[in-house]
Amino acid sequence: MKSQLLALIFQLLLLLALAPLLSGCVKNWKSKLQNRRGPRVWQPYFDLAKFLCKDMVISEHASWIFRAMPYVLFISTLLAGLMMPMLSASAPLSLFGDALAFVGLLALGRFFLALGGLDPASAFGGMGSSREMTISAIAEPALMLAIFTVAIAAGSTNLSQMLLAAQGPTWKLINPAHVLAFAALFIVLLAETGRIPVDNPATHLELTMIHEAMILEYSGRYLALIEWSASIKQLVLMALLANIFFPVGVATDWTASSLGLSLLWFLGKLFALAAAVVLVETTNAKLRLFRVPDLLSAAFILAALALLSTFLFQ
């Protein structure tokens, strides 16, 4: 009991502390690739601290939904993060929720995020909410189908069990089902975290922004919570890709040495994924909104092929 509580607190701190760094790295590397100096990798921490200290302006049209949203989003994202095995194969909340609950909690946060966008009566917010809900709706089947493929192979929807099964002898790096499901999930990752072919995190241009449009009316500590949630969500989704598909190095016991090794592996995998995202962002242009469904249907087809190959090769 005590060790579980410790693991929980440790993972909570890891989520809170690591997420801004990951966002900072992505921003910094992206600038480097584009021959700019870019912000320091620590910049998101300073941003968060600055937002937390700032005064807030709240729209006169907003209701309690607007004020409740950052908390709901932040906490649901953290809860989803606590269900994801990170350093140790057993996630702190693995009994309380499986992969489906994980997806559900992210959806809960998004539901309120979109409502928060509609609340201040601005057309930007509505535009952002509408697009966010549309894109996530199209991404959802691909996400679920890819998770199903892995879950069926593992015989469980419990994320820790999926990881353990992936660590087992049946796992092969070039298992076609895994490769295809990974590709599908990578596309979903780009869509869910608002990355370039789908959304541009760096723009505030009215006609193209999605995530930024929804949170245009937010300021001060609410904005801090929203930005922090967004980076935690990115960390958690990357952890899903890193740990379920490349379960190397994840600790199965509670010794300091294996946990330390696991942390190194984990960071390495995360940074590799972040580098992949940066590469995609730099080498691609943002898609027109109505081209995004094509990309996401490609993800769905990849996931369906993954499933089919499970059927063929089992």
Binding site: L52, C53, M56, F96, P120, S130, P141, T157, E217, A304
Partner: protein, 682 residues
């Protein structure tokens, strides 16, 4: 058997509904008394019904007391009422809904004072509940059909209650026609069973269901699927549902969408799981496919609506689809002889049945409260209601979260069970059919995400931002009894969401009856804290712990705020308006605009027609007036029902030539018919 207290309570409930009918009619001219008598007796009867059902499902597990409603003189026709576990479960659904909706009605029907006759409404309302309870408990096909027909007729009367509007009349008539097509199929189906058993009692059907020849069983399956499917609103037999449910008074809409379409689910469960024995594979495949299609199409059409009640009606089609996914998977597992999995899928479907009843009734009641105070069903004329009707808004939000299958509320639990049964289905068979399970799971995910988008739209446009019309700006909070009615449903959503393991024990006698399994112990781990999926090392979920953990995490942002933001102040200011002189409600995102991306993506399905007229003085870029119209018609209506309708009309016109009005011609017809009959007899 007569001494069973559940049976006594059921009798009491039936009698009190009867008292409600007579009492409301007796007080026709005193609308206040009619209100109290009509909905008061429905409330009391509903409490009796809940107690009866819970007793039958817990203390008197599976004893299934029965009695004769009326000693019948006609052979075969016995008015047997039997409260077996399946009946008790559905009586529970109808009674829970009746309780909260009746309490809501006390306040709601005051809006009809002086305009419409409340006594008539109360009488039909009680009659509908009485007939529905009898449908769920009748144990004789003849009696079942009588109750079914009374239910359809009272539902028709409730739908047509505001018959001065043309829209209401056409919706009612469409319901009437479709409902009778369904009943026709049911009569044929029961006759097939009667032919085999020689009796109309359900017990005799149960005895012969599995001994019938395959062709007859298949025919019976199709007839029942169509017959009950019409009532449930499966695609493509659903077209009456979005026409008829929205035009009824909102308390009746809640019952129609919450309970009435569940009679179709009850009928399918009764016939397919109770009577028919082991099903062939294609039954399950058909039901699963229909369920998947209904779910996806239902939510897609719901997204295109900006009429709040029509939107909810389309969501009923979606949810019936989700229920059928569970039932279809259960049939497939029965075929491959996996009783435990079949039970899991059946529980998933039935859990979703009660969940949908509760949150859909909640949403209809919320829509009714909004309608009551804004006098419009058009979402584009609402907005800002959360400040004017905060309690209604909160209740509607809970319903919206629940129907979007978000944790920790009840919709999530039943969809979780559905996902689990579909996922495990992959291992049950070696054939290509098994790919259906995860693919329907993916479609379920699409449905859930689209439903979330739809309810962001419905809640956001209706309740948030600035009011878009005068009516919305002057809306007032609903009356206390209406809030109480909705509050009961909110409590039910929370209970079914947070304590699924407690509720699951009620399913034990039911599944014992239908599949011979009891799963509540296997579906529970950690002393009832978490819900499991019958697999060892399988996925578990505990909504209660998620909710508690969320509350425990609440200090994290608060501590940060105390640490950093002690000196930060909060100011109320205008929304960013790009330097204009102020935002008007016209600049807000509309419901139609919100769903535009979806409309564009699924353009091939919706085939939207749009008409833009612009007038300009000197340059087309500076229009003086713009008129925009956009229509979506369902593909089923335009490509199936309308041609069918035209064909029938054409045929009837041809037939009219026969009816020339001359008596000589008619005499010849009679003579020819007689000759033909004689030849046939010889």
């Amino acid at each position: 058997m007569d001494s069973l207290s559940s049976v006594l309570l059921l009798k009491a409930a039936l009698c009190i509904y009867g008292v409600g009918i007579v009492g409301s009619l007796a007080a026709l001219r005193r609308e206040r008394i009619a209100n109290v008598v009509g909905f008061g007796s429905a409330t009391v009867a509903a409490v009796c019904g809940i107690l009866a059902a819970v007793l039958a499902l817990t203390v008197e597990q599976g004893l299934g007391g029965s009695f004769e409603l009326w000693p019948s003189l006609i052979p075969y026709v016995k008015l047997t009422v039997k409260l077996d576990p399946l009946s008790a479960f559905f009586v529970l659904i109808v009674s829970v809904l009746a309780l909260a909706v009746s309490i809501y009605s006390f306040g709601y029907v005051r809006g009809f004072y002086g305009r419409k006759n409340v006594g008539v409404l109360g009488a039909f309302y009680n009659a509908l509940l009485l007939a529905t309870t009898l449908v769920f408990t009748a144990s004789n096909a003849f009696f079942f059909l009588i109750a079914w027909e009374i239910m359809a007729l009272t539902a028709y009367c409730l739908i047509s209650f505001e018959h001065e509007k043309a829209e209401t009349r056409s919706g009612g008539v469409l319901f009437f026609i479709m409902s009778h097509i369904g009943t026709g199929c049911l009569i044929l189906g029961f006759l097939l069973l009667f032919q085999a058993s020689g009796d109309y009692s359900f017990d005799s059907f149960r005895a012969v269901g599995h001994t019938m020849s395959p062709a007859r069983r298949d025919a019976a399956f199709l007839l029942f699927l169509i017959g009950f499917g019409v009532k449930a609103g499966i695609v493509p037999l659903h077209i009456w549902l979005p026409m008829a449910h929205p035009v009824a008074p909102s308390n009746a809409s809640a019952l129609l969408s919450g309970v009435l379409i569940k009679t179709g689910i009850y009928g399918l469960t009764r016939v397919l799981f109770d009577f028919m024995g082991t099903p062939p594979n294609w039954w399950g495949v058909t039901v699963l496919t229909i369920g998947t299609i209904s779910a996806v199409l239902g939510v897609l059409y719901a997204l295109m609506e900006h009429d709040l009640k029509r939107l909810l009606a389309y969501h009923s089609i979606e949810n019936i689809g989700i229920i059928l996914m569970g039932l279809g998977a259960a049939l497939m597992f029965l075929h491959t002889n996996h009783p435990v999995l079949a039970t899991l899928a059946l529980i998933a479907g039935l859990y979703h049945t009660i969940n949908h009843g509760i949150f859909k009734a909640l949403l209809f009641l919320g829509a009714g409260a909004v309608l009551h105070s804004t006098h419009t069903r058009n979402m584009e004329e609402m907005g800002g209601l959360i400040k004017r009707m905060p309690k209604t808004a909160f209740c509607f939000l809970i319903g919206a979260v629940a129907i979007s299958a978000l944790p920790p509320l009840n919709g999530f639990i039943s969809e979780w069970l559905t996902y689990q049964s579909l996922l495990q289905g992959f291992g049950t068979t070696g054939s290509l059919v098994r790919l259906m399970f995860p693919l329907s799971g993916a479609m379920l995910a699409l449905t859930g995400a689209l439903a979330a988008a739809c309810f962001v739209k419905a809640f956001g446009v209706t309740f948030l931002a600035q009011p878009r019309s005068e009516h919305a700006a002057h809306a007032r909070e609903a009356s206390p009894t209406m809030i109480l009615g909705m509050g009961l449903f909110v409590a039910a959503c929370v209970f079914l969401g947070l304590f699924p393991t407690t509720f699951l024990t009620l399913f034990d006698p039911l599944t014992q009856q239908l599949t011979g399994q009891q799963l509540s112990a296997q579906l529970t781990v950690a002393n009832g804290l978490a819900l499991a999926n019958t697999q060892a090392q399988g996925g578990t979920v505990s909504t209660l712990s998620i909710a508690l953990m969320g509350i425990c995490l609440l200090p994290v942002p608060l501590v940060l705020w105390l640490f950093f933001g002690r000196h930060a102040r909060t100011r109320i200011g205008p929304t960013w308006d790009c330097g204009l002189r102020g935002l008007t409600p016209h600049m807000e995102y509309t419901a139609t605009g919100f769903s535009k991306p979806i409309r564009m993506i699924f353009k091939a399905l919706f085939r939207p027609r749009r008409e833009v007229q612009r007038e300009y003085d000197y340059s087309p870029y500076f229009a003086t007036t713009i008129r925009f119209e956009s229509h979506i018609e369902e593909a089923f209506v335009t490509s199936i029902y309308r041609p069918l309708n035209r064909a029938i009309l054409r045929l009837s016109r041809r037939m009219r030539a026969l009816q020339a009005g001359s008596i000589q011609a008619y005499l010849i017809y009679i003579f020819i018919t007689l000759l033909l009959l004689l030849m046939f007899a010889l």
